[in-house]
Symmetry: C2
Subunit: 329 residues, 2 copies
DNA sequence: CCGGGATTGGCAAACGTTTGCCAAGAGGTA
DNA sequence: TACCTCTTGGCAAACGTTTGCCAATCCCGG
């Protein structure tokens, strides 16, 4: 590797421009007005010398890093890359950087990740907690130190959060399935410790009680992977052979169910739907629920920077839409 | 938000333990031996006061951040989350954090992301460059400032890089297709400005020249999405109706091709293969090429930290395996 | 020509840590 | 006992920036 030039400091810019350090700092940041001629001269010197402000020095002084931490339960679930992307854009639009930590679906790792982010001095943390109960201590501990916003998955209603309404898409889903003649719907969740999965399950229960009051409630806990979806599908056909539609808590499970049921296209015996409208759903033509990720992201980032100023807890709920595809024809 | 405790500094720990700041620093970091009793006392004070070293202060002094930058061309291509995850694990194992930037397939954004990472003072950057030529300037500029390692996609052979061998999986693929009676293979790439896609295309050309010397070479440029795969598939059937196997430069394209050809399972007229063995390939039973992501990641992280010490450029090549599935039966 | 207010440059302190240097003490040897 | 070496604690400087405070200058009106 060729020798790396050492960095130009503000001191050298000041010397070059024949001004004091403070004037240079103010000219560059605009913290206070400077005489136009001087401003120009500073800009020119900085440009020519290739000066870039040292974020470490600045952070030490300002006690800000202009950086958001982002804790994700499982980056291999394709919903989260989409969410990350949206949050990154929203953050960039406000001049903030983000640093991502993957919890690997493990509350222990998640907790350590939170500590690490806080030690890294991020200004706030956005988190989709892994586990409804096991993540609670870590979350609250973190929230006692810096602003923390729960995104998508919320496990503590008291702390700030941004989420979607789970009921309305389930209503749309059930209505559609009913209209196409299905009567015996079964829900396959993730682990019941996943906040969103549990909410979807409860919404399903409510909606079903309305739509099919006499139908028994069929709910199966699943897992995180497509594999667990396959297993759940086997169990469903065996346990409740009447089932003519399976509502899944996310796309991974939906894909697994679809695989197990046989992937022949067109009208099929059992309708299947997923959740999150990931590219998986596109790939296998799975009906799914599209979350307004960009709005979620913008709201979350606003909340994070806002939380630094006023201390008002944030609670926002967005609506999402069902995207119907071949799997429910 | 409840009031946030302000941080405990090393000064307070020193006062509490009745020792000097430097002794505390050394006791905690182990930079120099301290008398066991003192070490114990320091540890106890630090623990009790809840002291955590301030990474900003430390970084200012040491001029290190113990953080790696990671520039990804497109986080919604599921190969990259897998790569990110692997790199995160490898980095964590060495006590390093990572900060991720998504280039959104745009060399402009990529360039800015690189600058931002460097401004953030990451110790080194791992990058999968977006564009074979348009990324070059930004890459070299960055490499002139801090250690930069190209991962997976390499566009400058002179700079450090970690990659896989593309030829051997293509050989396996072609051999398998040939053994199952296919004769008229067509390659569908991404844009020819994607380094890996181009390498795969060239490998395909070489291998085909060997295996089917009399067969004309059929190569189609594609795009980044499943959609472009669908379009490519239409073009292939129209332009080269004899085609009985399509080798795609990645899984997204493979999925699109599969969709367009009709997704009926079992032996089909045209065999299809993808690349990267993402969860998409699992979902649609697409034959694909599995890269040794964990090894890539470990090598890349080693290279990044190594580059700080010796200045030896790194060039490593790993082998990858074909995973055969229903799409090539 | 003087006084007062507004504007803007500079000094120096602070943010929290690590580390080179010095000196004090401990322990061993002659 | 005297001397030498080795260990280990403390002082203070440095990393690069922002900003509170003061002072100098300028402009304007009387």
């Amino acid at each position: 590797m060729r020798p790396l030039r050492d960095r130009v400091t503000i001191r050298e810019v000041a010397a070059d421009a024949g001004l004091s350090i403070s004037t240079v700092s103010r000219a560059l940041s605009g913290a206070r007005p400077v005489t136009p001629g001087i401003a120009e001269k500073v800009r020119e010197s900085a440009e020519r010398l290739g000066y870039r402000v040292d974020s470490i020095g600045r952070s030490l002084r300002t006690q800000r890093t202009d950086t958001l931490g982002l804790v994700i339960p499982d980056i291999t679930n394709p919903f989260f890359p989409a969410l990350i992307q949206a949050i990154e854009h929203a953050a960039r639009a406000r001049g903030l950087g983000i640093v991502i930590a993957d919890a690997d679906n493990d509350p222990q790792i998640e907790r350590i990740a939170l500590r690490t982010l806080i030690d890294q001095r991020v200004d706030a943390v956005l988190i989709s907690p892994t586990d409804l109960t096991a993540s609670l201590d870590g979350l609250r501990d973190a929230a006692g130190r810096i602003p923390v916003i729960q995104v998508d998955r919320v496990i503590d209603e008291e702390l700030p959060h941004i989420r979607i309404d789970q009921t309305s898409p389930i209503e749309q889903l059930v209505a559609h399935l009913r209209a196409s003649g299905r009567r015996h719907l079964t829900f396959v969740g993730q682990q019941p410790t996943v906040a969103t999965s549990l909410e979807r399950e409860r919404a399903f229960a409510r909606v079903m009680a309305d739509a099919f009051p006499r139908e028994p409630l069929r709910i199966l806990p699943g897992g995180t992977s497509a594999l667990s979806g396959r297993e759940a599908a086997r169990q469903v056909v065996e346990q409740w052979p009447l089932t003519d539609a399976i509502v899944c808590a996310n796309d991974l499970i939906g894909v697994g169910v679809l695989q197990e049921l046989g992937a022949e296209p067109g009208r099929r015996a059992i309708a299947v739907s997923g959740f999150d409208d990931t590219l998986l759903a596109h790939a296998v033509q799975l009906t799914s629920v599209k979350q307004p990720v960009d709005e979620l992201a913008r709201a979350a980032v606003s909340a994070a920077v806002g939380a630094r100023q006023d201390g008002e807890p944030v609670r926002a709920v967005f609506t999402s839409e069902v995207v119907f595809r071949r799997s429910t024809e």
